[in-house]
Symmetry: C2
Subunit: 113 residues, 2 copies
Amino acid sequence: MTKHQADLSLLFHALSDPTRRSILTRLAEGPARVTDLSEPTGYSLPTVMRHLAVLEEAGLIASAKDGRVRTCAIVPEAFKPVRTWLDEQRLIWERRLDRFEAMALKAMKEKDE
Amino acid sequence: MTKHQADLSLLFHALSDPTRRSILTRLAEGPARVTDLSEPTGYSLPTVMRHLAVLEEAGLIASAKDGRVRTCAIVPEAFKPVRTWLDEQRLIWERRLDRFEAMALKAMKEKDE
DNA sequence: TTGATGCTTAGTCATATTGCTAACTATCAC
DNA sequence: GTGATAGTTAGCAATATGACTAAGCATCAA
């Protein structure tokens, strides 16, 4: 598996959990401390930490510690490979449809003759 | 968890595996039989079947059996919730940036006075 | 310096995931 | 009907995931 594919897998996997998505949505509003992210979810701190680790490994968030407090922030560019992959799939599919349409048109013309 | 969130989790999870993504890419080119999908991956038929089941549960593909042969096809609309979710996150983040910029502009003006 | 706060680590548990092989069923071609 | 083909089911093993509690460490406030 290429590095790109591995990155995509990490990204999609990170996004596949509803708790992690809710954390991302919260962080889209602005940076937050670990405890701030833990409270609304109702999950224990270690559990949230693990989710944050998954998000950080995927590159979707960045975090830094200042004193006792770790602040997390979203990394908007990190979503790009996901969008790009979706676009690529759509392109392949649309090209196929175009060919299909061209064939249908050709068939109609030949029928006309 | 709402149904929508559950659907999103299924979708992202389905997309998180490189073998499943390669199957989708193949199917974007056009429908294919199970064996056609198995051969290029190098995985056993039962393994591929399982991947197909995951994709079908997520709604990303549809399949039908004719005689002995099961034909699988991509369901392009199924990607839409993923795109929508990404767009929503981006919107939240952009709104935040706008507010931030507005604040900065205001601060600059006040400094001018 | 002592206590509260914020995070981290370690260890456990249940379940899910991803691969396999072996055996089975259903269909098609002779 | 016999054999090859296409898919399916069952069951196994290794690893990953997602939750928890309990205990630890570092920092800040008084």
